[in-house]
Amino acid sequence: MSYLKTRSLIATVALTFTSPLIAGDDPLHERHELMEGVGDAAKPIGQMLKGEQDFDAAVVMTSLKTFDEAAAQFGELFPPGSETGEGTEAAPAIWEDRAGFDKALATWSDAVDAAIAANPQTVEETKTVAGPVFNACKGCHDDYRIEDE
């Protein structure tokens, strides 16, 4: 075994055992938390659209800002080497078709930017701008997420 190979093996083993312990160095964990936050932020908007919750433009904007922050970070949380582990639902397609994944992410990011710029003040306006945002969630999940078994 060459020196380089040995070193990379040691590095891999070390990473495998230490990475879950270091919060800032664990893309699997971070992206999972980020995605949970996105889901939590989507919920009040959905409930307003369903009529289960009173409309509140400020809450909608807070959720949109959460999406915006997540969209900015998300792309960096799928580095090579983070394909599997921790029950991740990330599909191999993310790494096989990185350009497609980045494009899907940009679709979401653009839709969020447009929604923030529109600053919706009614349920109808929210429905109009949230449609492309939610469809982008679905579109990306459809191609780049595997189903849990």
Partner: protein, 305 residues
């Protein structure tokens, strides 16, 4: 002397059994004169098309992926269903006269959809879910044909299925149908109008039971476990129980179910996944009343664990 007589009796008996089996498994069809007096309406057929999700199987895959957008209207077939019985290849149902079903009459189409019999009098395998479509109003089936006729013809014939024995004996499907092809409702006492409208969609065109209901070892649905969840026919995992006793759906309101079918989002704001993605996209094209009817029907089902 005695033995040769016995052999003769056995031979006759065998012949009688074979003829009886042949007779019992014959494809049974509806006559053109038995069709309702109905002027087919393509607009009504489009509703049936989305409710039934015809495109989910029949739209030709694009670069190995399922068709999206307008490609869902190119019904050239070609999708392969890899099942425990063998590989089923989905045929071309575009209105192409030679390769698709463009040359079919209304009664040809009704017999395919509701009796599982091809225009040349052969049984279809129940991978084509005619056991569900048998519960549709015949008028809806005729409307669907009128809608399909408006779509672009696609050329190209799809290869035959590759099935293992005994499933490769197509005639045997006749015996299978005697047991499993039933038009009666799967559920009873569902009189309110909205629930009945949902029943026709779920049990008929929507053919939800084909995946959500478990099957016996011959591939027939277990009526007593109607919509109570089943192993995923495409491999890993399970298709969920969607009766009010289902693990997740028990917490959902009828409005949640309708919203999920419209938007693809669960009440927890996760998105729809797996084979249900295509189904949900089709359901999104139905009217809000149709989705509400489906939700009302699902809520009215017996609670199964």
């Amino acid at each position: 002397m005695l033995i040769s007589r016995l052999l003769r009796v056995l031979a006759v008996l065998f012949a009688v059994i074979m003829v009886a089996a042949w007779w019992m498994t014959r494809p049974q069809t509806i006559a053109a004169t038995d069709l309702p007096d109905h002027q087919p309406d393509p607009a009504g057929g489009e509703r049936v098309f989305w409710a039934g999700g015809c495109a989910s199987c029949h739209a030709s895959p694009v670069n190995g992926k399922r068709a999206k957008g307008d490609d869902k209207l190119l019904l050239g077939g070609g999708l392969e269903l890899d099942t425990p019985y063998g590989v089923f290849r989905v045929p071309n149902i575009s209105p192409h006269v030679d390769d698709g079903i463009g040359g079919w009459t209304s009664v040809d189409f009704v017999n395919a959809m509701q009796r599982g019999v091809s225009p040349d009098g052969r049984h279809y395998y129940p991978s084509f879910p005619y056991t569900s479509y048998a519960r549709m109003p015949a008028e809806d089936v005729m409307d669907l044909k009128a809608f399909l006729d408006t779509l672009p013809p696609v050329s190209g014939r799809i290869e035959a299925h590759s099935l293992g024995f005994p499933w490769s004996v197509r005639r045997g499907i006749g015996a299978w149908k005697r047991r499993y092809l039933v038009e009666e409702p799967m559920t009873f006492g569902v009189s309110p109008t909205l629930v009945e409208r949902g029943r026709l969609l779920v049990e008929g065109a929507g053919h939800c039971g084909e995946c959500h209901t478990p099957r016996d070892r011959f591939g027939g649905m277990l009526r007593e476990r109607w919509l109570a969840g089943a192993p995923n026919p495409e491999g890993k995992g399970r298709v969920p129980n969607i009766t009010p006793g289902g693990e997740n759906i028990s917490e959902w309101s009828a409005a949640d179910i309708a919203y999920y079918l419209e938007s693809g989002f669960t009440p927890e704001f996760d998105t729809v996944g797996g084979s249900m993605v295509a189904v949900q996209e089709n359901m999104a094209k139905l009217s809000a009343e149709d989705r509400a009817a489906i939700a009302a029907y699902l809520r009215a089902l017996p609670v199964l664990d």
